[in-house]
Amino acid sequence: MTADDVDDVGTYPDYIVINKPVNQRPLRGDVVRYVGAPIAAVAATDRYAAEDAVEALAATLEIDELSPVMTVEQATSDEAPLLYPEWGDNKVVDLVGDRPEVRAALDAAPHRFTETYVVQRQTPLPMETRGVVAEYRDGRLSVWVSHQSPHIARTTYAMLLGLREADVRVVCPRVGGGFGGKTHVYSEEIVVAHLAMKLGRPVRWIEDRAEHLVASVHARDQRHVVDVGYDDEGHIHAMRCHVICDVGSGEVFMAGTCPSLVSGGVMTGSYDFPNLEVSTTCVVTNKTPAGAYRGFGAPEGVFVMERVIERVARLVGKDPNDVRAPMILQQSQMPYTMPGGGRIDSGSHQQTFERVIELGTEALQRVQARFEDDPKVRVGVGYTNYVEPCVPTYFATTGHWAGYDAATIRIEPDGGATVAVGVAEIGQGMVVTTRMLAADALGMNLDDVAVVMGDTDRAPYGLGAWGSRGAVVMAGSVVKAAEVVLDKARVIAAHKLEAAAADVVLEDGAFTVRGSPGGTAVTWAEVATAGVIRTIELPKGLEGGLDAAATYEPYALEHFPDESGRIHAAATWSNAAHAAVVAVDLRSGHISIEEYFVVHDCGTIIHPNVVEGQIVGGVAQGIAGAMYENLPYDPETGQPQFASFMEYLVPTMSEIPPVQTEHFESPAPEMPLGIKGVGEAGTIGPPAAITNAVCFALADYHLDITETPVTPMTIRAAIRGSKDRT
């Protein structure tokens, strides 16, 4: 099956109004823009036969090679070949910041510097690659897919395949990790479903790792050009920042342009820093499309901000924490509106910062003592502060979906409950979190609550797992539905207890009359049996049934920017401070993370183990970005220089150190139960904290890192460069 065979399949919509359209087709025909773009599909009775056929087919392909565009410089040069000639340039997004007061503050500052910071290309890399199984039977399409957003997938499949949404079922059972990469609705899913409909039999496609590295989204790949004004006291007066993101070919749904907007929007994070002007440009190149990855632009922005702080500190001869301290947000400043428009609702920015300094200072002494006999090992500590946008608008990312989610609760006749929600489980613990919260809301035991998610036939429409939002929107809808069900249950119980409903309370799984301990009790099972089966026992006029549907819309955010381009795009904000203590071997350039600390605040904690797992796992991915993973391309040919885990270096437990966490709890004032998000937080800090620590350790060599990943080559080059200077 090639591009001609999918003529009757729709083109992906280009919903985002600020983006130029890419008109993505499920299979590419005339122009193929990157290695990994789907151009043909082969169906066979087993995978070995299919791969033989693909090999044979590839040998017959006739391709005219065009000049590739592989870097930001190439993409923006006047002679650049255009990926989409109708655009007139290679810029899919180009937003120019215009804040005259920032420029005036810059001009008035005693000192200035400009610098370019670079964050490399990574990929989310769930251990389970993508996979799709589709079957078309009796006029219904069923798709089992490893995806983060079952309902968004269903809507997209129905739209492109010309089916009624009710005739499409999407099931996402036990997704083996996502990290953003599986929020996108990929071409392969459409092609497999289309093949199943054409062939009249089930079709399966399981992505292999080599395919995954070129065909699933990449991310990051940003450079920030900054112009910073400061004074001799280390006070940063103003900063202009041009975020330039290489989004690859752009042919992915939803587009990968939004993370670069987040980078500029959250970079000042935990600091009171009003004078920031951000411009954002996303260029297209002949690389795999960039998309969502845990952190979603925040790690890049925070890396740049923290490196700017460290530069200023070095230039004026101050401890970097003395540059940070006057800027750190105070509780009295809440809610605090950042220069990009994000309104931080609450947090413990100063407390987490002060606590992490205590931890880092003690750890630095321990590690220095550990290496005091080895003059070839240098030790350093690095810090970072940041905020994590939680429960964001999806409209800025998709141009279509917004923030809605939903829950249904059905009390079963035996007194148990089936709780179905629109959020999804991708390994982050959403099932156990939902069960715990629903059991609490319904006054039931954990074992009495069955949780349903990830099946569009059984769960209400919802937007799935992304954006550090699941716990909040799940809780918002589940608590509402539980209240409706409980109100009715109290009426039924009151009738049985011959009391007024207002006097009935639910305690330890039984309904009793308030103030009569030890008195008559009615169990959930009795209430449920009356409500659903023995409806003859209901009070006169009360209809049977014990179920409720509720939705949650995060009204505490905005979906559209104001006239100056500012947008309050997330409903609540977690905060954290990290400290990394590293030992750097001057001989080999080897960097060892000796100790790592996270002092974190995600509001009310529902399930401590889930929160811990999210933070520690997130830190590991942050370390991967800070030190190991990279996706380089040959600039001449456009060929990826990675095909396996031998090139894409995912850290093992030999590289990832123990991570110590501490928590503050600042409840989110406008969120259900005060909950904030935690899914992305851990990933944001490590690039900044580790780089700062390495530069501390190598202060004698005047190392000022502006680019990740920081590798032994970075260290050795700095040492050699320093020798060259002397």
Partner: protein
């Protein structure tokens, strides 16, 4: 089609024990053991994460030793005694000590890599191993979710408390 259909259609008889049951099959010479287990025997608990021997998700025990089933051909397993993740728990579903330690320490999130870690530990962990030794031992298994900490905690407990 340019490939040699004779070679494609060739089948080699193999006989092996998998989780205590004797299995006989005629398999293509190029069939991976991981595919034989998953597709041929329906033992999908063995996960395939990279197919080039780095991630360790597909680890099984071959004659008691942890090995990559994606780097082993099914024909190489002729006469072998294989244990997969399906063979780790008791027949009544009671978790093995290794599995129970993972449950106790929240050592998994998405669970995709878990079978590989469990088989590596079941096959290779020795009593009294120190944490650095354990980190070295299990550095052939990738996990993208946990940051490894909870896995190390489970393995350390097992190295100190597991019955020989």
């Amino acid at each position: 089609m340019t490939s040699d259909t004779t070679a494609e259609n060739r089948r080699v008889p193999i006989r092996l024990r998998v989780n205590g049951s004797t299995e006989s099959a005629a398999v293509p010479p190029r069939l991976l053991l991981s595919d034989f287990l998953r597709e041929g025997l329906g033992l999908t608990g063995t996960h395939v994460g990279c197919e080039h021997g780095v991630c360790g998700a597909c680890t099984v025990l071959i004659d008691g030793t942890a090995a990559r089933s994606c780097l082993t051909l099914a024909v190489q397993a002729d006469e072998a005694d294989i244990t997969t993740i399906e063979g780790l728990a008791e027949p009544d579903g009671t978790l093995s000590t290794v599995q129970q330690a993972f449950a106790d320490h929240f050592s998994l999130q998405c669970g995709f890599c878990t079978a590989g870690f469990l088989m590596s530990i079941a096959g290779e962990l020795e009593q009294g191993m120190t944490e650095p030794e354990i980190r070295e031992l299990l550095s052939g298994n990738l996990c993208r979710c946990t940051g490894y900490q909870s896995i190390v905690e489970a393995a350390v407990e097992l190295a100190g408390t597991r019955e020989a």
